[in-house]
Amino acid sequence: MSTIQISNLHYQYPTSDFQLAIDQLSIADSLVAIVGQNGAGKSTLFKLLTGLVQPQKGAVKINQRNLATLTPEERLRTIGIVFQDPSSQLFNPTVEKEVAWSLSQLESDAELVQATVKKALASVGLTKLKDQNPFDLSLPEKKLLTIATVLAINPQIYLFDEPMMSLDWPSQRLVTDLMQYLAQTGHQVIAITHDMDWAAATFSKMVALAAGNVVFEGTPTNFFSCPEPVKKAGLLPPRIMTIAQEVFNDHHVYLTPQDYAEKYPAHQ
C-alpha cells in the first residue's frame, strides 16, 4: 500500500485568481473519495499529484520519495490518472492502439503488450470496439477507454477524476467492482466524485476541498455526521439522509437505504 504525503503545497494558475493551498495531507487508505464544489480545486490537486503541473511551493511525496525526482518511467508505474475530460487524453487512431500506447513506453515485449491490452479492454467491456476510432465513441465509452489505458499500465496508485460521469447503471457497477478489486489487490484508488450516495457506499475515507483548501478528512460516517464541513464544502448528504431528515425528522447518519433499514428498529 502506498502513502501520499503533501506538505505546504501551493499552486496558482497564471490566468485566474484561484489558489490551491494545502498545509498537510496524508493519504494512506486504499479507497479515498475527493469531494467538493465545482471549482474547489479537485482536478488541480490531481494534476499536482501526477506532476502535470508544478507547485509554486511545497512538495508531493509518494512512499517517501519526492514526485519531482521520479523518472518518467517510474512515474508511470507509480501513479496513473483517468482525466475528467476523456477527449483530452485520446490521440491514437484505434481503441486498441490507444490502450497499447502508454504501455509500450514501458514494455518492449509486443506479445505481452497485446495480451495486456486485450485484458484491459475486456475488463471495461470495450472488446467489441477495439478497431474503432476513439473519437467516434460516445462520452461514456471514451471514459471507459481511458480507464482501460490506465489498467493496462497497472500503476500502484489510480486517480479517477469523476469516473461515474455519464456512465449508465451497469457500467457504474462494473467500474465500482473494478475499483474495489484494485483496492483489494494492494493498489490505492483515489476518486473525485460529486455522487455522495456512491461516495458514502463505496469509500473508507473522504477528503473535502473548498476554495482550494482541505476542510475535512475522515470516514464518510464522520463527514456526514457533522453538518458544518458538509455545508462549508457546499455539498449535500447522501439522499437517504435527506429523506430521513425531511420526511421523518430523523437526523442520524445513514449511508445507504440498507443501512437505514438495519438501524430502523433501534431508531424507532
Binding site: 462520452l139 449508465d168 447503471w169 451497469p170 460529486h194 455522495m196 430502523y264
Partner: protein, 282 residues
C-alpha cells in the same frame, strides 16, 4: 393531422449514414407540450440520438436515414428547421464540444446566441448577468472558457442554452459534472420553468422522479416503457438494468406501499410523505 398541443413522435426510426442497424426503432409516443419528459436507458439505447432528432441536428447536421415523423405543436424539427432551431435550446452530453470556440471570455460565450437573435446590447448585458448568477458563474465571467473546471464548463453550456429563453429545451445529461448543490438547484429551477417543453436525458433518477411528468425508457433503440415516473419505476423489467430512486428502494425495503395503490411503491417525496402519514400515524 397535426396535433398542435402535443409533442408527437410517430413510427420514428433512424439509421446513421454508413450504418446498417437503426439506432432508433419505430418509436411512437405523444405527450402534451410544456411537459417535462425524462429519458432513461443504458448505453446504446438511443437517448442521445433521440435528443438530436428532437433538436433537428439529426438529420440536418448529422446525416442518416430518418423514417416516420416528429412534431412539436405546429412545427417539425425535420421540416421546419431552422425556424424551429431558433426556439430550441440544446445542451450536449459533452460540454467541451459545445463551445463556439469564438469567444475569449465566458461573458462573450453566453452573449453569443443573443447577438445572433438580434437582442439589443443593454438587454444582452442584463440577461448575461442574470443567467451567470443563476449558474454561479459570476466570478468566472471574464475568464477564458478554456480555463474553466469541468463543472463550470457544464454550467456555461447550460447558460448558453437557456439564455435565449427557448420554448423547447433539450438536455442531454446536463448535470453529469455538477456538484450536488448545483445539480439540485438546476433541477429545482427546471420545475419552475413555464411554457417550455423540456426533454432531459439523465442518470439522476431521483431528481427525474421529482420533476418529470413522464419518463421514457429506451432499450437498444426501442421505446420499452413510458408513463408517469410512478408507473414506469414500478413496472421495470430487470432486463433493462436501469436504476431506481432511493425513495423507491427505501419503500420497497421497508414495505411501505402507497395507501391508495397498495401494489405500488412511492418514487418521490410527495408520494413517500403521503404513504408514510398513513403507515406511521399510529
Amino acid at each position: 393531422m397535426a396535433n398542435y398541443q402535443k409533442l408527437s413522435i410517430n413510427q420514428l426510426s433512424f439509421t446513421y449514414q454508413h450504418d446498417r442497424v437503426p439506432v432508433l426503432n419505430d418509436l411512437t409516443v405523444s405527450v402534451p407540450l410544456d411537459h417535462i419528459i425524462g429519458i432513461i436507458g443504458n448505453h446504446h439505447a438511443g437517448k442521445t440520438t433521440l435528443c438530436r432528432v428532437l433538436a433537428g441536428i439529426v438529420p440536418h447536421i448529422i446525416a442518416g436515414n430518418l423514417v416516420g415523423s416528429c412534431q412539436l405543436g405546429d412545427q417539425s424539427p425535420v421540416q421546419d428547421w431552422p425556424a424551429y432551431n431558433q426556439q430550441t435550446g440544446f445542451v450536449l452530453q459533452d460540454p467541451h464540444s459545445q463551445l463556439s470556440g469564438l469567444a475569449d471570455t465566458v461573458a462573450d460565450e453566453i452573449a453569443f446566441d443573443l447577438l445572433n437573435h438580434g437582442v439589443e446590447e443593454t438587454a444582452i448585458q442584463q440577461r448575461v448577468a442574470a443567467v451567470a448568477a443563476q449558474l454561479q458563474l459570476t466570478a468566472q465571467l471574464q475568464q477564458s472558457p478554456d480555463s474553466l473546471s469541468g463543472g463550470q464548463l457544464q454550467r456555461l453550456a447550460i447558460a448558453t442554452a437557456i439564455v435565449t429563453r427557448p420554448t423547447v429545451l433539450i438536455l442531454d445529461d446536463p448535470t453529469s459534472e455538477m456538484d450536488p448543490q448545483g445539480r439540485s438547484d438546476f433541477f429545482n429551477w427546471l420545475k419552475t420553468v413555464t411554457h417550455t417543453t423540456i426533454v432531459i436525458v439523465s442518470n439522476e433518477i431521483d431528481e427525474l422522479c421529482e420533476i418529470a411528468d413522464e419518463l421514457w425508457v429506451l432499450e437498444k433503440g426501442h421505446l420499452v416503457s413510458h408513463g408517469t415516473p410512478l408507473q414506469v419505476m414500478n413496472h421495470l423489467s430487470p432486463k433493462w438494468q436501469v436504476a431506481t430512486p432511493t425513495i423507491y428502494q427505501l419503500a420497497s425495503l421497508m414495505n411501505w406501499p402507497l395507501a391508495t395503490k397498495p401494489t405500488l411503491f412511492p418514487v418521490n417525496f410527495n408520494q413517500l410523505r403521503r404513504c408514510v402519514n398513513v403507515n406511521h400515524s399510529n
